[in-house]
């Protein structure tokens, strides 16, 4: 009798341990994160729009401070002092959680534009940071082009 009980309980134990192996959970998207030291969240920016480039396999999000956002909505192409815009670009990767979607992967660059008053003129500064550590990248060749491109973007419709 005792043997039967052992076999029964043993069987139940073996069956119950046949659960599928637990998958490795990654809660955060570590590849895409911005370094803490960059303090992006202290810039006080809101999402203005987002982009994908299918040829280079990248995704970007354009952020703006409320002033730049409302100027962009007004369609005002002349720059006013006090605007801040930031374009964050990632390499795209397949979404591990959903087949049918791509999400940001390795952080590629952050471009920041600020406009300020200097000698009664509006001066626009452009800074580019690259790589996962966002090292400062001196870029003088593309500057004008990038400033024009970023300033020309219109906000995504968010009623």
């Amino acid at each position: 009798m005792r043997n039967i009980i052992y076999i029964l309980f043993g069987g139940i134990f073996i069956l119950s341990s046949c659960q599928s192996g637990s998958k490795n959970i990654e809660l955060f998207n570590e590849q895409a994160k911005l370094p803490e030291t960059f303090k992006f969240d202290t810039l006080g920016l809101k999402v203005m729009s987002s982009y994908i480039n299918k040829k280079s396999g990248t995704m970007s999000t354009l952020y703006a401070n409320p002033f730049a956002l409302s100027n962009a909505l007004d369609g005002d192409k002349s720059h006013r002092a006090g605007e801040v815009l930031a374009l964050v670009t990632w390499k795209q990767q397949a979404d591990g959680n959903y087949f049918g979607a791509d999400v940001p992967g390795d952080l590629q660059s952050v471009e920041i534009i600020k406009s300020a008053i200097a000698a009664k003129n509006v001066l626009v500064s452009y800074k580019k940071y690259t790589g996962k550590n966002l090292d400062s990248a001196p870029d003088t060749l593309q500057q004008e082009k990038r400033i024009t491109y970023i300033f020309n973007q219109r906000p995504s419709v968010m009623p």
Binding site: S20, K23, F28, A32, L34, D41, V47, L73, M158, P159
Partner: protein, 312 residues
């Protein structure tokens, strides 16, 4: 002692035999609008899914024995309710397409076929090769963007100018059938991530409210704290000939609200979807959330959330 054991066993046997008379009916009605796909794809579905997800259920002898039969009958009832391959063509073509992607997602997430089912029905398991076959099939149906699609560009331009003229001002707060109210402030929240859905040609930004943002900062997202709200905004993709994609017309905003007690029936999350700039609530009645939770359930280990937040 021996007598007691014999008596107990006989009693259990009688109960077992008596139980066999309680059998919910499983009806196999004719498949009038059966699933259509290439033979290799259909064969996989028939073998792995049709027992619970069609009117062509084939029961093995061991499925017929109560109490196993009760579980089988319940699985079939539930299975046919959420997806019935025999009624496939009754769905609109666009719904058929999104259902296919969902099926492949459920299989690749390991949620389907049910583990309890494949343990007994080993031949219902889907192999890696078969999953690749299914993925290739749905990929062949992915939304293909026309570069410089004037219809999409015009729709986006029209919507943008209406939005700028504040023609989408909402006078009365829209409310989803389950009581979730539209939250206009979502656009001022923090971006948690973005996603590009190549299955249906939309792009999305996922926002989190203050509570969500604080939870990300302090690493407390398993589980997400009560009061967390996510908003996922979707737009059409507008692509130019160089592969640059911008946001086109606004499609919808979806909300997930964490409240362990209030939304206990849907694993602690309340759901809502508001479509078009008029923010028309989605769902005929409060039961629309079954659809939401069915898709989110495989994400149980991530507190039912798909998005892995990006720390900014």
């Amino acid at each position: 002692m021996k007598k007691i054991i014999i008596l107990t066993l006989s009693f259990l046997l009688i109960c077992f035999l008596f139980m066999q008379f309680f059998r919910p009916k499983i009806v196999n009605s004719p498949a009038s609008a059966d699933f259509q796909a290439p033979p290799n794809v259909k064969a996989i579905m028939i073998r792995a899914c049709y027992d619970c997800h069609s009117n062509a259920t084939s029961l093995r002898w061991y499925d017929q024995i109560v109490p196993v039969y009760w579980q089988v009958a319940a699985d079939i009832k539930h299975g046919r309710e959420s997806l019935n391959f025999s009624d496939w063509q009754k769905m609109a073509p666009a719904d058929q397409k999104s259902k296919l992607w969902e099926i492949v997602y459920q299989i690749s997430a390991g949620a389907m076929p049910l583990g309890s089912y494949t343990e007994v029905h080993q031949n219902a398991k889907i192999t890696r090769d078969e999953l690749s076959t299914l993925k290739a099939y749905v990929n062949s149906m992915a939304a293909v963007a026309l570069p410089d699609d004037t219809a999409k560009i015009n729709a986006a331009d029209r919507q943008y100018s209406q939005w700028r003229k504040e023609q989408f001002l909402i006078k009365q707060v829209p409310i989803a059938p389950n009581g979730v109210r539209y939250m206009p402030d979502y656009k001022n929240w923090q971006a948690i991530s973005t996603s590009a859905r190549f299955d249906n040609g939309t792009m999305r930004v996922i926002f989190g409210n203050n509570i969500a943002a604080a939870a990300v900062r302090t690493h407390h997202i398993q589980p997400w704290p009560d009061g967390t709200v996510f908003a996922k905004v979707a737009w059409d993709e507008v692509e130019d000939k160089d592969g640059n994609v911008k946001t086109g017309a606004f499609k919808q905003v979806e909300f997930m609200i964490k409240d362990k007690e209030k939304y206990a029936a849907t694993e602690g999350w309340g759901y809502a979807r508001f479509k078009t700039p008029k923010m028309i609530p989605y769902g005929k009645n409060a039961l629309f959330t079954t659809e939401c939770i069915n898709c989110h359930r495989p994400q149980k280990n991530e507190d039912f959330v798909f998005t892995q937040p990006i720390k900014h």
